[in-house]
């Protein structure tokens, strides 16, 4: 078990996984794009605008998943002080922020033809915007707080507060009357989306996840080299 948490073992593994990810990402992304832009059907109410879902939904999921993961890692790191975990969450946060911004931007582009407005201060949209601020605060705290112990404490605090916001995002469409539609894909409950739309959505999600893995592995290597460089001085 300890072997798997060893930074040198992980660093070596990242190099191997990077090559596998690079091999699969482009074909999967092309298949996903063909399905989502040309082969998937139009929605009977929204028409072609529904295609925005294929970039908007995976981005939103990834931004939520990343924050959930980094919160968990922060808490574990805070308790057990595992050096490699701080490298993991530092690598994860910029990816989450990027996908959060993509989700907000594409959501806005979807909102204009569907709701007649680019933005509304409704519960789902506002809580996603708040998540963006949590991401920014999180990144700022590990970039600008020099002392690693203090930085870890602040990161844990921000991630804990952000976790509450994640719950608000998840249930915002149920607790409040919002412009945003309720979830169509449920892991635990009934999925209402048609299979002809679920397949492109799944392929696009896979492509996005591979992209995240690619960036994450590169970022992990960056953080590890930075750490090693400090040791040289």
């Amino acid at each position: 078990m300890i072997k798997y948490l060893n930074p040198s073992y992980i660093f070596n593994l990242t190099g191997k996984i990077l090559n596998i990810v690079k091999f699969f990402i482009i074909p999967i992304a092309i298949v996903g794009l063909i399905f989502s832009l040309f082969l998937s059907p139009k929605d009977y109410i929204q028409g072609d605008t529904v295609r925005i879902m294929y970039v908007h939904v995976p981005s939103a999921w990834i931004s939520l998943l990343s924050f959930g993961a980094l919160s968990l890692l922060c808490i574990i790191n805070f308790i057990f002080k595992i050096k490699s975990l701080s490298l993991v969450y530092k690598s994860l946060a910029p990816i989450g922020l990027t996908f959060n911004i993509i989700a907000i931007f594409t959501g806005s582009l979807w909102g204009q033809p569907t709701w007649g407005t680019w933005w509304a201060w409704d519960a789902r949209l506002t809580s996603m915007l708040i998540l963006m601020f949590f991401y920014i605060a999180f990144i700022m705290s590990y970039k600008f707080i020099r002392d690693p112990i203090n930085s870890s404490k602040v990161c844990t605090l921000i991630s804990l507060a952000g976790l509450i916001n994640l719950v608000v995002i998840k249930y915002s469409v149920i607790w409040w009357s919002t412009l945003h539609q309720p979830p169509s894909v449920n892991l635990m409950g009934e999925t209402t989306i048609h299979i002809s739309m679920l397949i492109p959505l799944s392929v696009m999600l896979l492509a996005f996840l591979l992209y995240c893995a690619l960036i994450f592995l590169m970022k992990y290597r960056i953080e590890t080299i930075r750490m090693k460089k400090k040791g040289l001085k």
Binding site: D48, T49, L232
Partner: protein
Amino acid sequence: MFFEILSMNGYGIYVWSSFIATFVVCLYFYLKTKKTLKKLEKDFIKEAESLSKLELENLKKQKIAREILVSHSKN
């Protein structure tokens, strides 16, 4: 046919903008990350080369440092 795909019944501007913006952001983020990684590897090697022979030998005993030195020489 081509115009139909492009216009998407008048919604093309929203759909294509979403996909293009996502693609551009992802590409920029990838290139930026790759550039930073290459630069750091280069800097690491430069600093390693400035070490004395003994220090360099000790550095090569560390797995991560050895892999950085090897992976960069491959590229």
